[in-house]
Point group: C2
Chain length 219, copies 2
């Protein structure tokens, strides 16, 4: 049974919160055994250039720790992919970033990709993969955290943003924040737009499922 190390870039001692993404992954792929750990010193997560920079070496260090303990692959479960490149240089097992994974799966499913997130700009990790296929990125007005999405005003703003993407004719939507995975945002947006909505936690799970298969080959 492949052992997957999942890295959260939000420092927390709340085990339930820490393991949210891993639980979603294992529900979908029961053959994966996911262990979640978080980086230190980032109680408000990674949300700007400074926190992204300070997080990167801590992510790479956790990846090294997982590899030393015999894990088969590492996931960086944040759509900004903080530290993914550093981690890939530091270990020889596959390293999957939520941002690249989500964008990549959307590219495979459609041709004109819309994205929806809670930051002013789409993460570079995603726009780098999407290139010209990115038709539109929308941040619902007034929504800055996933908690905002759970208020009536936030939910209405999410619906409006989804309708906005629909009018632009996108044929697939890529969510740009893993926090949206846990609150059912993908389903809601799929209902409004009528197109497939790729969720970053499900996308990282899918690519990890493939990566451990490929990496398990005797090389």
């Amino acid at each position: 049974m492949p052992k997957i190390g999942l890295i959260r870039v939000l420092t927390t001692s709340d085990t339930g919160l820490l393991e949210t993404h891993g639980r979603l992954m294992m529900e979908r792929f029961p053959s994966l055994q996911v262990t979640s750990r978080c980086i230190p010193d980032h109680p408000s997560g990674v949300h700007d250039e400074k926190t992204e920079r300070t997080a990167a070496p801590l992510v790479a260090a956790l990846a090294v720790e997982f590899e030393k303990e015999g894990y088969d692959a590492v996931i960086v479960s944040c759509a900004g992919d903080p530290g993914v490149d550093q981690a890939r240089r530091a270990v020889s097992i596959p390293v999957i970033g939520a941002g690249r994974a989500c964008a990549a799966v959307a590219m495979g499913l459609g041709r004109s990709v819309g994205s929806l997130g809670i930051t002013p700009d789409i993460p570079l990790a995603m726009s780098a993969v999407l290139g010209d296929a990115l038709a539109a990125y929308v941040q619902p007005p007034g929504v800055h955290t996933t908690l905002d999405l759970m208020t009536p005003a936030g939910a209405a703003a999410l619906d409006a943003a989804a309708r906005d993407l629909k009018t632009r004719g996108v044929d697939v939507v890529a969510l740009a924040c893993t926090g949206m995975s846990t609150i059912g945002a993908a389903r809601r947006i799929a209902e409004v737009t009528g197109v497939m909505v790729v969720d970053p936690v499900m996308a990282e799970a899918l690519l990890t499922f493939e990566a451990v298969q490929l990496a398990c080959r005797p090389v």
Copy 2:
């Protein structure tokens, strides 16, 4: 159990040959039920602009037929993605092309992608997704069909091409022909390069597995 319609662009009455890709998919994803059909009038497959053009409407017609019969998704099992756009316009169920799928999975797994195929150029369906991430495309010298790969000279040329990609520092390889899926090329190339090798039939299976999940949501 999701019903998947798989379209071969090689006209054949040999059921074993027709069902090769579908069998590989079902071995990997036993939850998918794959039915294979081929387009008419293309006994030598799709191998140039003319055959690509004549194949497209036939692919779309088969997609419509699968949709009418209640299938949940359609695969065009050729790395050139002939007729994928036409089929997507013709049906409302997901349509997955081997080329885009293979390129997309590679983008999720690595940053610098090498590709290896049996045509002078990488299919447009793949290069469009890979963009600047495509570090190199190699056609093994003297190899023009998958049969060539199975001769001692072809196998040696394949190994040399894989070593060539390795020297270019790619961190993932995307195979550019579904015919390479059936002859174990991915494994051989992985052994030589030491990096993950994405196989188009496995990639189309992976994205179809995700697509039917997303499309099964009530929209």
